[in-house]
Amino acid sequence: MSNILAFIEVSNTGQIRKSARSLLTAAAALGTPVAVVATAPGTGGSLVDELGALGAEQVYLAESDQLGTLLVAAQLEALTAAAAELAPAGILLSNSIEGRDIAGRLAVRLGAGLVVDAVDVRLEGGQILATQSVFGGAYTVESAVDGGPAIVTVRQGAIEGQAPAATPTVTAASVATNAAHSAVIDAVNDATTTSTRPELRDAPKIVSGGRGLGSKEKFVLVEQLADALGAAVGASRAAVDSGFIPQTSQVGQTGVTVSPQLYVALGISGAIQHRAGMQTAKTIVAINKDADAPIFEIADFGVVGDVFTVVPQLIEAMAARAN
């Protein structure tokens, strides 16, 4: 079986990012999963067991003392070195900002074909096929890459399951970066939120609020329903632009694309760009006081009403049922 590299992102405090599981799962479905990590010298060893548990049969530790000081430079060199050494048939990265930065540069370097934002990958006749969900899920497109290796970025939260645990062999290499061709990191600010809510990207349930919530103070209603449902909180662009909630919660064309079991839209009109980010949800519920709001065209259950009366009643009714 061919080697499939999974690029493992690590936080600046040394934690393996969540995307590692799905990347190694996808890699195991295509060949021999190899985890590639860029680490500060001498620190990668502690990650090996965790990567093995996630299915890595080999862990390639690329050490660089530029990690965290140059923007994606050490990560790019890590993957370049691993690709040169391990002749992979496929290279998988998260479709995060960091993942795409590395994937784009690596594709040019290797003259490799690139597919971004894949929601699935599979092997057919020895060829790697990647599925993309285009125009907000209106189309499903399957592509192959002619001329190897295939570089694929995988949408966060799209691939479920877990590869069987392995006891990985470990390869360590040291990589040099070219400071002249990289941006310099000045500061890293980790958000201090200690939210216990699920993350938007792969939450099974999402409650989103729009401009109809009226103000930042009143947007709390969205959070209350989300907490009652155990759901993540999302928003429309208008709610973000109005300052009700940070942009990271934006669902839609230029925000996050989600595909939960349940999506509840509160005070959201359902503009086509919002729908592009949520219309593949299994069940859609909408509450809007305008009976003609386009969100109702795709809602499985629509309530024409005021969110400030319907939602409190819903929360109460849910509590009553739970008792």
Partner: protein, 260 residues
């Protein structure tokens, strides 16, 4: 200072966008095409600098079919000084690799101190062309910037990370891409629309760029579309009007679907 802004013409997100199921390529007949909103914002970043710094030259660059002229004229009417259109039949159906190769050649030929792109196009949603361009040109990049500032020597900005944000800087020349947080675009004014018609718009073919497709793209891996399936449109389900009991009914619906 010379700033190149990368402008892509895309199907209007307000309309229905279609793919041709036999090729998987965009059905250009199906929708109106416009300048991608994110590129108007990228242009705004350049124009704000130009407003404050006399002698700044802003060039709008687009690769696309003949119709992309309209996108470039829009950029000129907003305030770009000149435009470059990479137009060649040999580029139809280009993937990310070809697009970035051709754009890199056009950018190199045009000359630049700073290249500003959108973070991600609304049709492809790739978010990789700017960084691929940076690799072709051996330049540093700062992508997905929520805020950006620059002078003649250095560009800096902030972008989101998986767990917060980071701030970074790079010496010029560099490639940056900006998100919709970076700037709200201006509208073209009457004077802008009048002068746009007289501003220079150069059309470059692959051979003008010194690119022989047989050589430039030979041996380069390509993503090739195998199948394209249209998802059946979603239909409306039950819709009730709240008469004082809708919250309870909604709870029943969720319970029936085992969602609570």
């Amino acid at each position: 200072m010379k700033i190149i802004v990368l402008v892509k013409q895309v199907p209007d997100t307000y309309g229905e966008r279609k793919l041709d199921p036999s090729t998987g390529l965009l059905d250009r007949e199906a929708s109106d095409t416009i300048v991608d909103e994110i590129n108007e914002r990228a242009l705004e970043v350049a124009l704000r600098y130009k407003d404050k710094n006399k002698g700044t030259e802003v060039v709008a660059l687009s690769m696309g079919p003949a119709s992309a002229t309209a996108a470039l004229r829009k950029a000129l009417s907003m305030g770009a000084d000149s435009a470059v259109h990479v137009l060649d039949d040999g580029l139809s159906g280009s993937d990310l690799g070809w697009t970035s190769t051709a754009l890199a050649a056009a950018v190199a030929q045009t000359g630049y101190d700073l290249i500003i792109a959108g973070n991600e196009s609304t049709d492809g949603r790739g978010g990789v062309v700017p960084v691929m361009l940076a690799e072709h040109l051996n330049l540093p990049h700062l992508s997905f910037l929520d805020s950006v500032g620059f002078n003649e020597d250095v560009v800096s900005g902030e972008r989101g990370t998986e767990s917060g944000s980071l701030a970074a800087h790079a010496p010029l020349p560099a490639v940056v891409s900006v998100t919709e947080r970076a700037a709200e675009a201006r509208f073209p004014n009457f004077k802008g629309m009048m002068t746009a018609k007289r501003k220079p718009l150069a059309v470059l073919t692959l051979s003008d760029l010194g690119l022989d497709p047989a050589q430039a793209f030979a041996g380069v891996g390509r993503s090739v579309i195998k199948t394209t399936i249209e998802r059946p449109a979603r239909t409306a389900g039950r819709k009730i009007i709240d008469e004082g009991n809708a919250g309870v009914e909604l709870a029943e619906f969720l319970a029936a679907g085992r969602l609570i």
